[in-house]
């Protein structure tokens, strides 16, 4: 095929670029998924005061550091977007790699945190609170991993100066992942 | 009409049946009207040679009223429907009349256990009569029931009572009924509960006061009651 894109893709009747429009719809569908998890959790939490005992065993410190790590990585995503606007592909790629690094750090901290908790008997089956704790954070972490993989790919094309609009899109996705954590953190760690 | 298919045995069966009839009449009227109109238009406007269809956008006031007015009337009908439904619902499920007797119903894969109060009329005393897949009640007496489940969801359903209620493990659900006609009837489980769901039936015996007294007497004099009870608890 002569072009990577269909005519359909290149049209923009709404004025929003096609890939960005699709991304927004993707985020909408993700919001309801996390909405479902959080609503279920809240329903339990509000009717089971005894959960706060379990919750007090979460590692608030690790959680706060991770919040900070994710927020920083989001900042790099913004910088990458900025560089892409300036048509500076290599620079955008570098920033994306820093965002990627943030994601990696997040996962490493999470890994230590979880192994510590699991070794102390707080496994996913220990109580309903811990079931939610691992499930909600696990679904979130899988999004972090997916975002990181896409980021590697986008960084690779951006380095060659191609498809720079994707930098903004992956950044948007990353902000969303970040935002979900901003909801999870207080609900799982702080509410005691 | 429904009582021809299934007799009305509880105090509220008639009420539920009349609600069904009322709803059927209202929606049936609209259904027939709509379908009549539909079929009439199909006949009246079938293609005829040399005749062109009219150009109508749907904004014409004199035509639009044919849709708008019925539509408004339906909203009115909806109010009547809701009022009827909520009234019956309140009487059957929300409002609990004073109990004269209380029974416990326990569902498990795939049998029902009915714990009747014994001669003393009190539940959870030594003379309780527990029975598997048999419920004995006395006509004219208002019963409360406590519905429980040991494993999965079940549903205590008595078609002749027009009564249905899910049993949920870990919860105790309260309800009531008042049988009015003596006889032998079916109890069915109405919630999918596994392989044996299809055979999870039980018998309901609605008895006259004399019969019931005799039954209570028979089952409390002998050791049967105690035996069944330990059997059930095991």
């Amino acid at each position: 095929m002569a072009s990577q894109y269909t005519v359909a893709h290149q049209r923009s009747a709404t004025g929003i670029p096609t890939s960005k429009l699709a991304l927004w719809w993707l985020l909408c569908s993700e919001i309801v998924i996390f909405g479902g998890v959080l609503a279920s959790y809240l329903m339990f939490r509000l009717t089971h005061p005894e959960w706060s005992f379990d919750a007090s065993h979460t590692n608030t410190m690790a959680g706060s550091i991770n919040t900070f790590v994710l927020l920083t990585s989001s900042l790099f995503a913004v910088l990458a977007h900025h560089a892409a606007e300036m048509k500076d592909g290599p620079k955008a790629a570098r920033y994306l790699m820093m965002t990627f690094g943030g994601g990696l750090l997040f996962l490493i901290i999470k890994g230590f945190e979880w192994s510590f908790e699991i070794s102390h008997g707080y496994t996913i089956t220990a109580s309903r609170f811990w079931s939610f704790y691992y499930t909600a954070a696990g679904i979130h972490a899988s999004h972090v991993i997916a975002g990181m993989i896409i980021m590697l790919w986008v960084a690779n094309t951006a380095r060659k100066g191609k498809d720079l609009h994707r930098v903004e899109n992956v950044g948007l996705y990353w902000h969303f992942v970040d935002l979900v954590w901003i909801f999870l953190f207080p609900l799982l760690y702080i509410a005691k | 009409m429904i009582e021809m298919l299934r007799p009305q045995v509880s105090s509220f069966a008639g009420e539920i049946d009349s609600l069904i009839v009322m709803v059927t009449l209202i929606v049936g009227f609209w259904y027939l009207l709509t379908k009549g109109m539909f079929l009439y238009l199909l006949m009246a406007f079938r293609a005829k040679p040399g005749q062109k269809a009219q150009y109508i956008t749907g904004k014409e006031k004199h035509l639009k009223k044919w849709v708008t007015i019925p539509h408004l009337v339906i909203i009115l009908c909806d109010v009547v429907l809701v009022a009827g439904a909520v009234r019956v619902w309140y009487n059957v499920k929300q409002f609990m009349p004073e109990a004269e007797q209380t029974i416990r119903i326990v569902g498990q894969q795939w049998a029902w256990t009915f714990v009747h109060p014994g001669p003393d009329g009190e539940l959870d005393t030594d003379d309780d009569i527990a029975m598997i897949d048999e419920l004995h009640v006395q006509a004219g007496v208002t019963y409360h029931f406590m519905l429980e489940s040991k494993d999965v969801l079940h549903d205590f359903s008595v078609p002749v009572f027009r009564l249905k209620q899910d049993a949920i493990p870990g919860r105790r659900i309260l309800g009531w009924f008042k049988p009015e006609v003596a006889g032998e009837f079916d109890i069915q489980c109405a919630e999918m509960c596994g392989i044996g769901h299809g055979i999870m039936g039980a018998k309901l015996y609605v008895e006259t006061p004399e019969q019931h007294a005799m039954w209570v007497n028979d089952n409390s004099l002998t050791e049967v009651a105690a035996a069944t009870q330990t059997e059930v608890q095991r």
Binding site: R11, T18, M43 | G58, G84, G198
Partner: protein, 568 residues
């Protein structure tokens, strides 16, 4: 935006130039028309499978315990698995893929005047995930322990604990298949919505978009907005099944009712997800053959949106007697009865479209009218169920079964047949046989009514669902009721027999049918402005749009139709 900017180096011609190979068409297609057909054929195969399951368990109900031809003896566990998978397959692997994915794929790019979907690769991925899910659900019936038998609603703890359902592998595979199917449709839905929003031909403003495109998009949005919580629930249920968390297990502090809320919060909007595309197709077909403008385009649109919005507030009408707070039932009765308002309005508008028309009873038109005819019964019988007091008696009885087959069958089969016979010339370049089409129509309609109307009576007689042998119950085993069951099953056999007329017509016409012209029905929408079947890239010259899709019989014009792309 000017056309030149849209395709800067004129490469759109490349799309037409080369003939696609077999692999490019059928194995790894990127072309939306072939992906649509893949969905269609997969859906048809699954329909035959779901129909076979229905045949098997209906035979068991009519003649309990006897050997069923082509199936053999049916055990209670097999009965449950057959019913569960029949329901799941018919909804998720027949109605959804055919109505949304097959027609959505085929129609949206053509009707909005584009060359393809915005993301062809994603589109292909969506089908591949879907195909995988179909394989998993079919395979789940053959694993040790048998297929999942806990009903399509999969209420825990039964579905969550292998010791209760006794199908450890079947239930997990069932859940995985459903989750995969959801993913496939999320991907597909994003593609549909984005294409319809962004790739419309110049001049096609929102009130000039054909109704079926609107309906498929609204349906996709509904799906997207409702399925999320159930996706979360599915993960939770999967963990309950496999690693022993207890989200839904009351013995360990979980809550089985939570699943019901998650399920029905999706489950109710889901019924409108399949309803809307079917009504959309009816909205295309009725104006074409009545040679009339659709009565009140915008109102139809608002009724669809209204139905969609309201559908999020009615879910607990499936749980009236499930042990929720009885006061909640009153709220949900009100919302449920309210939903009759937009749907009644929509039906009235379709019927009003007939007024003043010049109606031609071709096969597609017969199916479209048949849809309205049958769906009205399904719709009005939803009201007694929504009336909480009456639902105490009707819940989980055959009245419910009859109600929803009178909605689902019109949608999944009658509506699909309407769409298929209407767009067949465009899909395969040939016409279907009208005589066979009409035989199929009358045979199906009559046997369908004979099949399900008696089930209302069974429901009124207090017969419950999901029971494999009613002769076990003294009240239900009486000859009068058993005769009705035999009658239903016989009607099903007739119904099935007539489907072979369709299959014959469908397959043979593909090769022998009369060659179709570009616009055999003299219709207005853009898909008729390109050869039948359209080549790769769809349009030789991308059309501009000058008017709405339903300008039939405009006064002072020679012909009684006025295609959207003809300049004034």
């Amino acid at each position: 935006m000017s056309e030149a900017a849209v395709h800067p180096d004129g490469h759109e011609h490349d799309h037409h130039d080369h003939e696609m190979t077999f692999v490019e068409k059928w194995i790894f297609p990127l072309d939306h028309k072939y992906i649509g057909k893949q969905y269609l054929f997969t859906g048809m195969v699954m329909a035959l499978f779901g129909g076979f399951l229905a045949y098997a368990f209906r035979m068991q109900l009519a003649w309990p315990g006897t050997d069923i031809p082509l199936f053999g003896h049916m055990s209670p566990a097999e009965y449950n698995a057959a019913v569960t998978n029949h329901g799941t397959i018919m909804i998720f692997w027949v109605a959804m893929p055919v109505l949304i994915a097959a027609f959505g794929n085929f129609l949206i790019p053509l009707m909005v005047g584009a060359d393809d979907m915005v993301f062809p690769r994603l589109n292909r991925l969506s089908y591949q995930v879907f195909l995988l899910s179909a394989i998993v659900i079919v395979a789940s019936l053959f694993v040790p322990g048998g297929g999942f038998g806990g009903a399509w609603t999969a209420y825990p703890p039964l579905s969550a604990v292998a010791a209760y359902n006794l199908t450890p592998q079947g239930s997990t595979m069932w859940l995985l298949a459903v989750a995969l199917e959801f993913i496939a449709f999320l991907i597909g839905g994003i593609n549909f919505i984005t294409t319809a929003m962004n790739s419309r031909a110049p001049g096609m403003t929102w009130e000039k978009v054909p109704m079926v495109v609107w309906m498929i998009c609204i349906a996709s949005i509904l799906f997207m907005a409702s399925v999320g919580p159930l996706m979360a629930g599915a993960v939770m249920l999967l963990f309950d099944q496999t690693i022993g968390t207890g989200f839904f297990d009351p013995a360990r502090g979980g809550d089985p009712i939570l699943w019901q809320h998650l399920f029905w919060f999706f489950g109710h909007p889901e019924v409108y997800v399949v309803l809307l595309p079917a009504t959309g197709m009816v909205a295309e077909i009725v104006p074409t053959f009545a040679r009339k403008k659709l009565f009140g385009y915008k109102t139809v649109l608002f009724t669809a949106i209204g139905t969609g919005v309201l559908s999020f507030f009615v879910w607990a009408h499936h749980q009236f007697i499930a042990g929720i707070d009885p006061r909640m039932a009153n709220v949900f009765t009100i919302t449920t009865v309210l939903i009759s308002i937009p749907i009644a309005e929509m039906m009235f508008l379709y019927i009003a479209t007939l007024y003043g028309g010049s109606i031609r009873f071709t096969t597609p038109m017969l199916w479209a009218l048949g849809f309205i005819f049958a769906f009205l019964i399904g719709g009005v019988t939803g009201i007694p169920l929504g009336a909480s007091g009456a639902d105490i008696y009707f819940h989980d009885s055959y009245f419910v079964i009859a109600h929803f087959h009178f909605t689902f069958f019109p949608i999944a089969f009658i509506g699909t047949f309407a769409g298929l016979t209407y767009w067949y010339p465009k899909m395969f370049g040939r016409m279907m046989n009208e005589t066979l089409g009409k035989i199929h129509f009358w045979g199906t309609m009559i046997s369908f009514h004979c099949l399900f109307i008696p089930m209302f009576v069974l429901g009124l007689a207090g017969q419950h669902r999901r029971i494999y042998d009613f002769t076990n119950f003294p009240e239900l085993g009486v000859p009068f009721l058993q005769d009705i069951r035999v009658f239903c099953t016989s009607a099903l056999l007739v119904l099935l027999a007539f489907q072979f007329v369709f299959l014959y017509n469908f397959i043979v016409s593909m090769f022998r049918g009369e060659k179709a012209s570009e616009n055999p029905w003299n219709a207005n929408t853009l898909e008729w402005a390109t050869p039948s079947p359209p080549g790769h890239g769809n349009f030789k010259e991308f059309p501009n749009v000058y008017r709405g899709p339903y300008e039939y019989s405009v006064p002072d014009r020679e012909s009684d139709f006025w295609p959207q792309h003809h300049p004034a």
